[in-house]
């Protein structure tokens, strides 16, 4: 507070010391109602002490403070204090209220407090500063000096005032935002509606999956899977997307017959009724990590023995057929046993009897490499016998034929041969299994075995593991060709998981058998 004016005010009060009741300068009284200030100060004090008590009790009982209330109380107290201080500031010039009376304790100090003389050091300091200030104005007349000093004072005063104003404004703004209940910011209605809409979208997406489902057509696996999914999907065979098949299922559930499964890899089989059912049952197999399955699995369910998977074909031919095929196989056995090495490893995982069956099939497959070299010719040749055998919907697209993979051809070969062994009961299951052989599928296959002794086994995406073809291309081509199939029943089998797909019809076992024989002979003839 300023020293000079205060002293005057104080003297006012002290001059009539005899009067018990001191009256304030009336001007001061108009400016500030001291009683009200006192009341307010007392109430403020009480509020603060109440808050402190609350905290005490909270601390004692280890309860959780209710922050909302506490913070609002604090802000109220803060505001009140601020207001009081503001008001007093206006009239603080009139008061020095402490100490008010001379008594023992302040008798010694009071002269020092009252003295206008500065302490010696302060005085020296002050003198030095005064010298400094007046140095520049030495030469001027006193009036000029006074003028200059006045302007200086005014400037400084103005600067101080503006600084104070800024601080006060900022403080008021700060206080206003902190006042919770009194100044409640509202959200603009339009914005609230938008937010509500977004919120509903988000909540339904997270809790129910709305808005996140991709339609069938878009369920195409991108060319590059994220890192964490690469391992998951492409265990053996680089084909993807059993998600596709799963997606397809979502979209196409009952009408497995429909050809609308344009999902890239997972062209669904179009099968006849029983085959359809069988396929439905087996579809999970397709989904189960057998990307191969999706890619390839257009094979109709009819043939449990679909050889598409080549070496790991679990399908076991019936005894009669088996014997016949064995004769044929023995001719081929000597050919490429080494190529079956990988497949054998998978077969090793099978139970013994299954292994035997697989071995037979593998031997059969060993003839495939020989066939494999005749891609284009295969195409032509295969189609002919197929037609002859009245197979429905069996088409070998050129893409399939041009696979140029042994496995593919082997698969086809096996398809033919194994077709003989299909039995209606298993065909449904089998169709689902027409994927490239993968070792992982073998256990599934055994589980799916019907009760018959020798039953075609379902192959779930068993892959020979040497696939190099891009499944997508194959599947697309496969599918399209399948779709265009006149018979419309069988969709093209895709790659055994990218191996050649055959629409195997369960019919005409004998004819198939013959065709198998024929085909086996064919390579020999051609060679």
């Amino acid at each position: 507070m300023e020293g000079g004016p205060v002293r005057a005010g104080m003297q006012d009060q002290q001059q009539p010391p005899a009067k018990v009741v001191e009256r304030l300068n009336s001007a001061v009284q108009q400016q500030l109602n001291l009683d009200s200030v006192k009341t307010r100060a007392i109430s403020l004090f009480k509020a603060i002490s109440r808050i402190l008590e609350d905290f005490d009790s909270i601390a004692r009982t280890n309860a959780d403070p209710r922050w909302q209330d506490t913070l609002s109380q604090f802000s109220m107290v803060n505001l009140e204090l601020f207001n009081i201080v503001e008001e007093i500031k206006n009239v603080s010039k009139a008061f020095v209220v402490h100490p008010k009376n001379v008594n023992a304790e302040n008798a010694m100090v009071l002269p020092v407090m009252l003295s206008s003389k500065l302490l010696p050091e302060m005085e020296a300091d002050d003198n030095a500063k005064r010298e400094q200030l007046l140095q520049s104005m030495r030469g001027l007349p006193v009036a000029a000096q006074i003028e200059k000093l006045k302007t200086r004072i005014d400037m400084i005063g103005a600067a101080c005032e503006s600084a104070e104003k800024i601080i006060a404004d900022a403080r008021k703004a700060y206080f206003s935002t902190r006042q919770g209940p009194t100044v409640l910011p509202t959200i603009d209605k339009v914005q609230a509606a938008k937010i509500q809409e977004q919120e509903n979208l988000l909540r339904s997406a997270v809790n129910h999956g709305e808005g996140l489902r991709i339609l069938g057509e878009q369920r195409q696996v991108t060319s590059s899977l994220p890192v964490h999914l690469v391992d998951v999907f492409t265990a053996n065979d680089g084909s993807q997307s059993f998600s596709d098949s799963s997606g397809m299922y979502q979209k196409n559930t009952p009408p497995l017959l429909s050809t609308t499964n344009n999902n890239s890899q997972g062209s669904l089989l179009q099968a006849t009724g029983p085959q359809l059912i069988g396929r439905a049952a087996a579809s999970p197999s397709g989904a189960a990590g057998s990307t191969t399955f999706d890619n390839t699995s257009a094979s109709p369910l009819q043939y449990a023995n679909s050889p598409r998977s080549g070496p790991n074909v679990m399908n076991t031919p019936s005894p009669q057929q088996q014997s016949q095929s064995q004769q044929q196989q023995q001719q081929l056995q000597q050919q490429q046993l080494q190529q079956q090495h990988q497949q054998r490893q998978k077969i090793m995982q099978l139970p013994p009897h299954q292994q035997q069956l697989l071995a037979q099939q593998q031997l059969r497959q060993s003839s495939m490499p020989g066939l494999g070299q005749m891609h284009g010719q295969h195409h032509v040749q295969f189609s002919q016998p197929l037609a002859a055998q009245q197979l429905q919907g069996r088409q070998l697209t050129s893409s399939a034929m041009h696979m140029g993979q042994n496995q593919l051809n082997q698969g086809i070969h096996l398809n033919r041969q194994l077709n003989q062994f299909s039995s209606p009961a298993n065909s449904a299951l089998f169709n689902a299994a027409q994927t490239t052989p993968t070792s992982q599928m073998i256990p599934n296959i055994s589980a799916m075995m019907p009760s018959q002794s020798i039953l075609p086994r379902i192959q779930f995406g068993m892959s020979a593991g040497n696939r190099t073809l891009p499944p997508q291309n194959l599947s697309d081509q496969m599918f399209n060709s399948g779709a265009s199939n006149a018979s419309g029943m069988m969709s093209i089998q895709q790659q055994h998981g990218t191996q050649g797909a055959f629409g195997n019809t369960p019919q005409s076992n004998q004819t198939l058998q013959q065709s198998g024989v024929q085909q086996q002979q064919r390579p020999q003839n051609q060679q």
Partner: protein
């Protein structure tokens, strides 16, 4: 079982929320990047369709997989009085082969999403986990690198705490009392109920983001 509440917060206030949570929880935040695949069983498998969620945590150096099954919520008058949702939940870590297994079992991919954000795990009356994440969708299947936020301006806040049938009441109380701390910034409610944003969020966020009192004035 678990107790769960959900809420939303505008993306602009997420940083303030993080500061608040940091102060309340006292632990470091964990970054969150989870690829969630929701699998549903096909209709001809079993009487009731079942749903599973496979979560792949992409934040670790080696992606870790978890399978989670969310069951029905507790019903009844007592459940209605609780401000949190109590529901059955079973969770387990699995290997990366789980996806193939479930496909083999007959599950199909229903939808997938990617959560990116952060989470705090701490103990305050119960083991509580607060996860603030932006939910992203993938336009192409499994393309997690190309995910876009589903709702760019809004992020999801989930507060979950595992519970058992014996102690779910205490856990629920702990969760709801914790949620009171977050009241200036967001409202939390059971997953089925929508809350909207809180009008004081902006002010609260501003005060949280400020240097703590007078210095910014």
């Amino acid at each position: 079982m678990e107790c769960v509440v959900e809420g939303i917060i505008e993306t602009q206030h997420v940083e303030a929320l993080e500061i608040l949570l940091q102060g309340l929880c006292g632990v470091h935040r964990d970054r969150l990047r989870i690829h969630e695949l929701c699998l549903k069983s096909v209709p001809n498998l079993g009487l009731v369709a079942s749903e599973l969620r496979l979560l792949c945590d992409l934040e670790q150096s080696e992606p870790t997989w978890t399978v989670r099954h969310i069951g029905g919520a507790m019903k009844g008058a007592g459940a209605e009085q609780l401000s949190v949702l109590v529901r059955n939940m079973v969770e387990s870590k699995v290997s990366k082969k789980a996806l193939r297994l479930f496909y083999a079992l007959g599950y199909k991919l229903d939808h997938e999403l990617l959560r990116v954000g952060f989470a705090f795990n701490f103990h305050r009356g119960a083991q509580i986990r607060v996860a603030v994440s932006s939910v992203n969708k993938m336009l192409k299947l499994h393309a997690t690198d190309e995910a876009v936020p589903l709702t760019p301006g809004i992020q999801l806040v989930e507060v979950t705490a595992p519970a058992s049938s014996e102690n779910y009441a205490e856990v629920a109380a702990a969760v709801s009392s914790f949620c009171e701390y977050l009241a200036p910034l967001l409202h939390l409610s059971k997953p089925g109920n929508s809350t909207g944003v809180v009008p004081t969020a902006a002010a609260a966020a501003a005060s949280l983001m400020s240097d703590g009192g007078g210095t910014t004035l």
